[in-house]
């Protein structure tokens, strides 16, 4: 069947099987391989992307369910050559090692920051608890999100205390 949606601002239309998962749609049909696939049970969160501004696990969403909606993936976080404050935070605080969980982790964390620009550690931990990371022990991911909260316009900015 035919599905049309907006992905990272661009309208896309594809002929797909109704059963195709959204994670496979963005990866295989659109070549946006920043969204990953790490489990069969909706536990790991490596597949997290946004539908209409809400983080969603794309491994548990049919591509057709996103028809008519706006999808945003990790590839859209940076503004051209400039990393977003959250991406900068991950770099500054060493919030990633193998990088496999990172796209999903950032999509979850960005959604949190959009709703709550200055979350405390406990709030961050709760927000990302549906995203597993096997490398970082979460410490620096939490710090990365805090860094973004403290630098809302990136490296050049700092919230004065």
């Amino acid at each position: 069947m035919q599905v049309t949606m907006t992905v990272n601002g661009d309208a896309v239309t594809r002929e797909i099987e109704p059963r195709m998962l959204l994670v496979h749609f963005v990866r295989d049909e659109l070549g946006l391989t920043g969204t990953h696939w790490g489990c069969d049970t909706s536990n790991c969160g490596t597949c997290t992307l946004w539908i209409d501004g809400e983080p969603v696990k794309s491994c548990t969403t049919l591509a057709v369910m996103a028809g008519g909606h706006e999808v945003r993936t990790v590839e859209d976080l940076a503004d051209g050559a400039n990393l977003s404050p959250l991406q900068q935070g991950f770099m500054e605080e060493h919030g990633l090692q193998c990088g496999f969980c990172t796209p999903g982790m950032m999509m979850t964390a960005q959604a949190l920051l959009d709703k709550q620009p200055d979350p405390d550690e406990a709030t961050i931990r709760e927000a990302i608890c549906g995203n597993l990371c096997r490398c970082t022990g979460y410490e620096n991911i939490v710090k990365a999100v805090r860094w973004a909260a403290e630098h809302p316009a990136g490296a050049d900015s700092e919230v004065s205390a």
């Binding site: 099987e17 059963r19 195709m20 496979h24 990866r27 295989d28 070549g31 946006l32 391989t33 920043g34 969204t35 990953h36 696939w37 790490g38 489990c39 069969d40 049970t41 536990n43 790991c44 490596t46 993936t73 990790v74 590839e75 976080l77 940076a78 990393l83 991406q87 991950f90 770099m91 500054e92 060493h94 990633l96 090692q97 193998c98 990088g99 496999f100 969980c101 990172t102 796209p103 950032m106 550690e121 961050i124 931990r125 709760e126 990302i128 608890c129 549906g130 995203n131 597993l132 990371c133 096997r134 490398c135 970082t136 022990g137 979460y138 410490e139 620096n140 991911i141 939490v142």
Partner: protein, 802 residues
């Protein structure tokens, strides 16, 4: 040189050791990492594996006709097909053989039965349902303790081993001095014996395993993109297994989404993707799903241990012994140096001073997935550390002594290094009391004990059901295998090559045999070159993970990268520096002996203005400058580093837990980790490695478990069943460091990749047991396990409650 002395490059990076943001992050943060599943080739087909639902069953028949008739299916491969290619079985890394696709009977649940190649992934999966397999179920050996019973079914009837004491017996292996140990135990004032299980767990990296094989029918060249921590070892193995000429195999290990040992071995799926590509003439991708990963690829641990510790009444440890029953699953697929069937487990004597030790390891086959050494264990050092650190706590409890005091009393002293352990390891360097003191200081140990006593008083008075525990673990690891005269895998000596080339403009490329799975090699190794040559790290490109473009070496596991390849990188850099000296002397028209080195530059002794920067030297080396007799142009070097010894990182960990005595719920309140891995090349990356390992320890101690039911069914086959720690279970870690360089490593560094995974589980378990004042309970300490232990009816965790 202290961190503050390190010069800074134009881009703000340290030209040498120090905190530096990672180069590799730029692509990962943009979603532009390239993992195996991201590889897309023209005309690529997709493979899927049919797996056995039974743990032990004879194959009566396999009918693939309906699958073959599927319009999108291109090939169906079975064991019978592989037999015609002589590929139905392959060697494991431990002198055993392993089934690729089953020919006779399945030996574990999830074993590979057939492989389908189709136009797309979904169709390949559909076709699996069309394959009809008739199984004749056999009783399964699901309990290692019963594997050697007289009536236990023989698992490996494929092997011809008339001398084996039992068909399920693999080996008995011992280390240490048995007689002396028995004598010490016979005369000891105190002996404490304790059984414990280090249960089967799984490394479960976020990226599962997979491969894309592309056999070019014209050139006969096989290119395989695959999740491997050891690309060169894999290439050699493919040459041996498939009979393909080694120079026509290129193994590319692109970005790896975590390894932790899971990506050391060669799995049937990789071989099937190669066969699929040979049969179809097209590239074939195979990527396992999570349940396949948890069911069939390298598990870790599975050691049933009975330890005994001997001491004087005033707490001087005199001896330690242990009997291990090692469950190796259906094929002995452990990956460790050939002469060490139990890995480095005989480092179990730990960090203490005594001379009597003995271990016996008995390994058995069971109807479980193969594997055995994986999950950041430093070749079974984690089992060893768990044993000794649990036994020391058992002894402390027996003696009524504070566990910190007991450790302090027995730790090796700095002046005892190099120290030869009773089982033959030579620890290179250490200051153990300093590390433990530091950890206790960060923890505020005495205040914690006071708080604990008050909480216990309130609990005993019925005022509260909250208890608090303080658990200590002190570990010594041996990492960085070889030397190659003692250590090899499948006859391949454990040494690693390295090549460094400085381009005319003074930028360079370093080529490594090891492969990062997140450890940040692209940054760290550039920093090593920067440290040695004064070239900014941003000017050094690090190439790894591609056998066509890197020198041979055994790869990244057992914390080998900095101890072995890091040393190789230092050696090649120094060779380049020596060559640069000769070239600088020619340019300056002086003798090389007249020159002195400062970072980035050779200059004339006593005349510092007369000198040549490494960049000027690089240009001169490629230019028209006349070089002395015997000196070739260009500026490059190669090295193979064969480590003289292992390096021995160590650390002191303290874990504080809160335990709800009413529910058995454990919360990790604090985790203090003082690590000594020698000088830190990039302290930010080192801390990150430790953080990850501490989370591993919390996961294993409290949540992670692969258990089996009496049919041999894996009960941990998904992330709903195999629980990994989330941000909610992990505290914010408190790290400290001491620095004791390794005397035999060119940079003094010791390796840190696995330290925290090795050291932390015992700290968590000791903490929980300290809270509930129970001598023993096995990991994972789930609420049920803790509660049952408190009731005096402990659970056996490795089996299903049936």
């Amino acid at each position: 040189m202290t961190a503050t002395d390190v010069p800074v490059s134009a881009e703000g990076n340290p030209i040498g050791f120090g905190r530096m943001l990672r180069k590799e992050d730029a692509r990962f943060l943009r979603g532009r990492g390239k993992y195996v599943d991201d590889v897309q080739l023209k005309g690529m087909l997709h493979g899927a594996i049919l797996r056995s639902p039974f743990a032990h069953a004879r194959i009566v028949s396999i009918d693939t006709s309906a699958a073959e008739a599927h319009p999108k299916v291109k090939a169906v491969v079975t064991g019978a097909v592989l037999e015609t290619l002589n590929l139905a079985w392959m060697p494991t890394l431990s002198q055993d053989t392993q089934s690729v696709l089953v020919t006779d009977k399945v030996r574990f649940q999830g074993q590979e039965v057939a492989f389908v190649v189709a136009e797309d992934h979904y169709s390949a999966r559909d076709a699996l349902d069309l394959i009809e397999v008739e199984y004749e179920q056999l009783p399964a050996v699901y309990d290692a303790k019963k594997a050697l019973d007289a009536d236990a079914p023989a698992i490996r009837d494929d092997l011809d081993r008339p001398d084996a004491p039992h068909p399920n017996h693999i080996y008995d292996w011992e280390a240490g001095n048995k007689e002396h140990t028995e004598e010490v135990f016979a005369n000891a004032e105190v002996v404490v014996t304790q059984e414990m299980l280090y249960p089967r767990v799984h490394p479960a990296p976020m990226e599962t395993c997979g491969s894309v094989a592309d056999m070019d029918p014209v050139s006969g060249k096989l290119t395989i993109w695959t999740t491997t921590q050891a690309p060169h070892a894999h290439r050699t193995l493919y040459a041996l297994v498939a009979g393909l000429p080694e120079h026509k195999i290129q193994v590319i290990s692109p970005d790896i989404g975590g390894g932790f040992g899971n990506k050391v071995g060669i799995y049937p799926g990789y071989v099937c993707s190669i066969v699929g590509s040979i049969l179809t003439g097209k590239p074939v991708k195979w990527v396992e799903d999570r349940s396949e990963n948890l069911m069939s690829t390298s598990f870790a641990r599975d050691y049933h241990m009975t330890g005994a510790i001997a001491a004087t009444r005033d707490g001087k440890i005199q001896g330690l012994k242990v009997d291990v029953l090692a469950d190796h699953g259906a094929f002995n697929g452990v990956a460790q140096p050939t002469k060490y069937p139990a890995g480095f487990f005989h480092i179990f004597t730990g960090s203490y001073d005594y001379d009597a030790a003995h271990c016996n390891v008995k390994a058995v086959y069971t109807n479980k997935a193969p594997g055995g050494v994986a999950y950041a264990c430093s070749f079974r050092v984690t089992e060893a550390v768990y044993l000794v650190e649990r036994m020391v706590d058992c002894l402390a409890q027996e003696l009524g002594m504070d566990p910190a005091e007991l450790r302090m009393k027995n730790l090796l002293q700095p002046e005892q290094f190099p120290y030869t352990t009773p089982t033959g390891w030579e620890y290179d360097s250490g200051d153990y009391p300093r590390a433990l003191n530091k950890a206790m200081e960060i923890a505020g140990y005495d205040a914690l004990r006071t708080e604990q006593a008050e909480m216990r008083r309130a609990y005993e008075a019925g005022e509260s059901q909250n208890l608090m525990g303080i658990g200590i673990s002190f570990f010594t690891e041996g990492v960085g295998a070889g030397p190659k005269k003692h250590m090899d895998i499948l006859g391949l000596g454990m040494a690693d090559g390295c090549e460094l080339r400085i381009h005319p403009t003074g930028k360079g490329v370093i080529r490594l045999s090891v492969q990062s799975q997140g450890q940040g090699h692209e940054t760290t190794f550039a920093q090593i070159v920067a440290q040695e040559l004064g070239i900014p790290p941003e000017d050094i490109d690090v190439v790894h993970g591609d056998t066509d473009n890197t020198p041979f070496g055994l790869g990244t596991y057992g914390s080998r990268s900095t101890p072995v390849s890091g040393a190789a990188a230092a050696v090649v850099s120094r060779r380049v520096r020596d060559k640069a000296r000769i070239i600088a002397a020619a340019a300056l028209e002086c003798s090389p002996d007249d020159l002195e080195w400062e970072p980035g530059r050779w200059f004339v002794k006593g005349d510092p203005d007369r000198g040549q920067t490494i960049q000027e030297i690089a240009m001169a080396a490629h230019g028209s400058l006349e070089l002395p007799e015997g000196v070739e142009g260009h500026l490059d070097a190669t090295a193979v580093y064969d480590p003289p010894e292992l390096t021995y990182p160590f650390g002191a960990y303290i874990c504080v837990t809160d335990v709800d005595a009413g529910t058995g719920q454990v919360k990790v309140r604090r985790f203090i980790a003082v690590d000594d891995c020698g000088p830190r090349i990039n302290p930010m990356i080192v801390d990150g490695q430790i953080h990850g390992g501490l989370a591993d320890g919390i996961g294993m101690a409290l949540m992670e478990l692969i258990a089996f039911d009496s049919n041999g069914t894996n009960l941990g086959g998904s992330f709903m069943d195999y629980l990994l720690p989330t941000a909610m279970e992990c505290p914010s870690y408190e790290l400290g460091e001491t620095v004791t360089p390794s005397p035999h490593h060119p940079l003094g560094v010791k390796g840190v990749g696995e330290s925290a995974t090795v050291g932390s589980p015992a700290a968590v378990v000791n903490s929980v047991l300290d809270a509930i004042q129970i001598r023993a309970a096995d990991m994972p300490l789930t609420p049920a396990v803790v509660w049952r232990a408190m009731q005096g009816s402990p659970l056996r965790n490795d089996l299903a409650i049936e």
